[in-house]
Symmetry: C2
């Protein structure tokens, strides 16, 4: 989680650790609202120049709002004071840095023993990113540590941004004075308590990693019956069939073995440590089983059983109690009311689900707040040859959430792409910040269910999901670079293009193949998505026509029905070498007069060293493979329809464009 | 083609037969612009009452524009004149009827030997449907027959609709007079010539039916080589493998047999009559082969060879010459530059394509102006279990067009749904009228390629398609009830819902299943398409909750993970019996804890007598069948994603709504 040597940890700005302030550290890292990392630290004597620059960089209005006068000299004087004052005076100043540049400063001056007056200045260039909020929270935490019980500030009533910072913090008293000033005051005890609680949750989440859950050395299935068709039995069979590499136990008071797996009357009787318990007992028995797991030192549990918050208020209470129970034992929970979890890593091979689908190993990490949706995606991915790194069915999300998994997958080396199906957000702001951060290295694809009233009605009963208005979701996604997928199919298709192959560096699409009509439809689909299908230069067009006998060399390039694997290979090479495209779609119509295998081989040769994405649509070959495997083991996705291929490429272009934005 | 006992034929209004006027017939049927059938016939004495009613039904303004005065008595006088005048005076009056009601009248009075003055009156209620145009065309044809060379009319300059009728007819001289009158005159020779030419084409198209092409008793493949991989060879193999029921010949000057099929040096040498020739010789040899086919009495030819109009001006000329050649011998042509044709009727079993895909027999008729698109659709249809009645790869459309096939499939008994992939319209107006007429009994689904500039560029090279602006296409489709499909996948999906099962009679969708998340996504997809997902009545909700243990009974109905085939069957029955839904989507998530076969059987039992459509989405069952087969042999489509299922249902709802509009 460490992003540089002088940081402690990265956390949501509203969860910034206050305890860090007591440690002799160089500062704290936090996420700004736009996902950039903000470093907050005490002011140093050598900050004078940077603060002077800040004073002279900010707008007249910002100076006026800070000093109640348009006076850069007052600002400079204040800088002198901040950087030279004796810390024993009780004065505290913190600066905020982004990319090593000082962009804000917050300070307080003691007024009485336990009260102080505070002030802020934030660079106009970074307004709106919540940096004022981060400074305020940190300052309050430091003040609390130092015995300051109340922080006061006077600000102009017209200083909307600063007022918003205080309001957002949620622990501030505000008095509007007739003079046009607003007097703000804050109970640092309350502030610190809030921060403490948030930080606690955050730290706990970090400390209690998801590793034992997703990469266990031993698994016990509690409630594994002898009969096929029972959920516990079937999970055990999936673990066996999936060749789980660790120790496997069943818990069943009425059996010695389930199949080949030894069974024990209770989790307490299982010999040796258990990392993960999969719980498939009736709902009334779940609390006792969770308690027993805690006592037995189990690290994590996946509760498959349904009948909790999705049933209403009673169920919600039972679920809250479950969480308390688990917390007491540092037991992390997935579910309840879920399908299970998967980790395809060869050294683990965990399939702890009761799904019919065995995912292929690969690089898409998937979390789904619906088991049905999870298996729909796993199924489509398998058919398309797209592998999964890890899968988590979130169920009612009593503990482990989409946000936890985002954090987990951020640094998970086998994961290239993260796919989420969500019906609700426990903490939308945190989701946005995390997604933005994670998105810098791995694309985050989300299908959000419950956009309509009918969908929300269904969601409420189904996983007890609380509604977030769809417009808010759109704004959240747009801010955080999340790729919103309209359908499950689109999620898998986009993941196929984004997995293990280069990203497009622009939006110019070249279309080439023997399938004229497919080229037409691909170009139409591209146009609808604002993807360019530019005409080639005269040189490239001539090369295409002369050497391949193309019927149309404009782009789309139609090599005609007479195209051979050799002409197709040559045409793809010409396009890749031209530098005139950011992505290539090969449209191939298979007939009895051609050979799919040879055509795939030709495409693989041409695309071997490509630094731009190449995707394929293969029409009319019922038994064709869903991917063209290259020499290096990576694969080009093959789509059944040109429109689907273009839509998936469009997402890759959108992601690439977002990621290269400053 | 006959729609009632007093009609001769139905044709596009602008193609109305003039020759019909000489026959002693009761009238002529024509299509109005909105697709309704207009019957035009000479006025009869017993029309007096109907014409009086018309005079009194039309608006004051219509009376004013017709008689240049607001005078119903003038109108009544005129009616008396029309119905009683001696035909020997040279006076002619025609009436237009829609659904047996007189809605318009057109007449002329001779002025000199070869000149006459004409006048029109059309019911306000049918203005804008081109009925004036139809009357004018017919009147001109009759006038021409009777030696009238010029027809004149004076009309008020403010009579926009009537002026438009004359302008639209395209053979009228117009003089604007200062008096506010416009003097119109028409050369009936020119008018009749135009009509003659159009009628000739129309009649020819009707007489030279597509039957020998699509249901041949004997087929010769000309240019069938000995080597696998050649197009001619592969078509022959498809005909053999597909078990064509008629006689099969190869034409190859260098072989006695191709596989088991006897080969002859030329078509002239083939013993016995040949209905269909499939031509796969090099393009330079095609004209001679077509000529030879004509001389040998072949009825139709499918030209697979490419290298014609798609190559530019020279190719277009060769193609035009081919058509002339074929016309001379009454030989109908499909292609050139096409993939071939299919007829799955068990008594025919014609697969005259070189595609890798063998279509299943069924009720979707498909025409595609791109072979690649054709095989993409055939492939997807086969995977989805959707059968095809007939398939035609149109290629460059030198003769047989989408319009011809619309006419053909209108009365083709095995065809329930018509699917078209078009890149251009030879005659958009005619397409609109035909589609509207055909759409009353069979849905017409169209993917239109070439919406974007890139797509049009590709289309121009590919099948030499001329561009129609996309906005015009949208308007054309909307008018004519054509269901525009965004993608090929959507076409197949919609056809699956529209084939062989009841239509929805409204837009209320019920969603039920064990897959909560799928219900959420289905409801969201419905909402985006303006499909209602109404909450059930208290009675129905109670029945669902009490008898099935549904977790959520609101709609979507979530039966929970514990649902059995029996509870699902019961829930579907409750919904079907409630009368509260116009269509049902069953969302089923398959796991190891359930049984797909039993679930399908339960759905089949529940849906057996349903009078509304029931569709299914089955998630997570890699080997599940793509349809639930009912006792009567019909089948419910099973979709891999809830969104896809809802979109397809949406098209069925849209079609049903359009079809029930008056």
């Amino acid at each position: 989680m460490t992003t540089s040597e002088h940081t402690e940890h990265v956390a949501g700005g509203d969860h910034q650790s206050a305890t860090g302030a007591t440690a002799a550290v160089a500062g704290w890292d936090a996420l700004a609202a736009d996902g950039s990392v903000v470093h907050i630290r005490p002011v140093r004597a050598d900050d004078e120049q940077a603060l002077d620059e800040l004073n002279h960089r900010v707008s007249d209005r910002t100076i006026y709002l800070r000093f109640f006068a348009l006076s850069r000299s007052a600002a400079d004087q204040h800088t002198r004071h901040l950087t030279t004052a004796d810390p024993l005076d009780g004065h505290v100043a913190l600066v905020a840095e982004v990319d090593g540049e000082v962009v804000g400063v917050a300070s307080y001056e003691p007024m009485r023993t336990d009260e102080a007056e505070m002030a802020f200045l934030v660079d106009d260039a970074v307004h709106g990113r919540g940096i004022g909020t981060l400074l305020l929270e940190q300052l309050a935490a430091v003040a609390r540590e130092r015995g300051i019980r109340h922080l006061h500030a006077d600000t102009l009533a017209e200083n909307g941004p600063m007022l918003r910072v205080f309001m957002d913090s949620g622990f501030t008293e505000v008095h509007r004075l007739d003079s046009g000033l607003v007097e703000l005051s804050m109970d640092t005890a309350y502030a610190a308590r809030t921060l403490d609680r948030m930080a606690e949750r955050e730290r706990a989440a970090e400390e209690r990693s998801l590793k034992p859950l997703l990469a266990p050395h031993s698994v016990a299935v509690i409630g594994a019956g002898r009969e096929a068709g029972g959920i516990g039995h079937e999970v055990l069979m999936n673990l066996v069939d999936g060749e789980f590499t660790g120790h496997l136990f069943a818990v069943n008071p009425h059996a010695d073995r389930i199949g080949e797996i030894p069974a024990y009357p209770s989790i307490a009787d299982v010999p040796g440590p258990v990392d993960l318990a999969v719980i498939a007992v009736p709902s009334v028995a779940v609390p006792a089983v969770v308690e027993a797991c805690g006592l037995a030192g189990v690290s994590g549990a996946v509760i498959l059983t349904s009948g909790f918050s999705e049933l209403g208020a009673d169920g919600r209470q039972v679920q809250r109690d479950l969480l308390k129970l688990a917390r007491r034992h540092s037991l992390r929970l997935i579910g309840p009311n879920c399908l299970g979890i998967v980790n395809t890593a060869p050294e683990i091979r965990l399939d702890a689900t009761f799904a019919n689908v065995r995912p292929l190993p690969g690089s898409l990490a998937l979390a789904a707040q619906s088991g049905a949706v999870g298996i729909a995606v796993l199924d489509h991915a398998s058919r398309a040859g797209l592998g999964i790194s890890e899968f988590v069915s979130l169920g009612n999300k009593v503990d482990v959430s989409g946000n936890d998994l985002l954090l987990h997958w951020w640094n998970e080396p086998r994961t290239d792409v993260i796919g989420l199906y969500l019906e609700s957000f426990g903490n939308p702001r945190k989701f946005g910040r995390l997604a933005r951060l994670v998105g810098r290295t791995k694309p985050v694809l989300v299908v959000k269910g419950g956009r309509s009233s009918g969908g929300r009605r269904a969601g409420a009963s189904h996983t007890a999901a609380a509604a977030t208005p769809d417009t808010a979701v759109d704004a959240l996604f747009a801010q955080s670079g999340v790729l919103r997928m309209e359908t499950l199919e689109e999620l898998v298709d986009a993941a196929r293009v984004l997995s293990g192959r280069p990203l497009p560096r622009g939006s110019r699409l070249a279309i080439v193949g023997n399938a004229g009509g497919a080229g037409v439809l691909a170009a139409d689909a591209a146009s609808a998505l604002d993807i360019e299908v530019p005409e080639f230069s005269a040189v490239t067009a001539a090369e295409l026509t002369d050497d391949t006998g193309a019927v149309g060399a404009g782009n789309p390039v139609d090599l005609g029905a007479a195209a051979t694997p050799a002409t197709l290979e040559h045409a793809v090479r010409v396009i890749l070498n031209s530098g005139e495209a950011d992505a290539v779609l090969v449209t191939y119509a298979a007939t009895r007069a051609g050979d799919v295998g040879e055509t795939y081989a030709a495409i693989a040769r041409a695309a071997a060293d490509s630094t731009i994405p190449v995707v394929v649509t293969c029409l009319g070959a019922p038994n064709a493979e869903p991917q063209v495997v290259l020499g290096d083991g990576s694969a080009l996705p093959v789509f059944p329809f040109p429109e689907t291929a273009v839509r998936a490429l469009g997402h890759a272009m959108r992601y690439s464009e977002w990621r290269t934005r400053p």
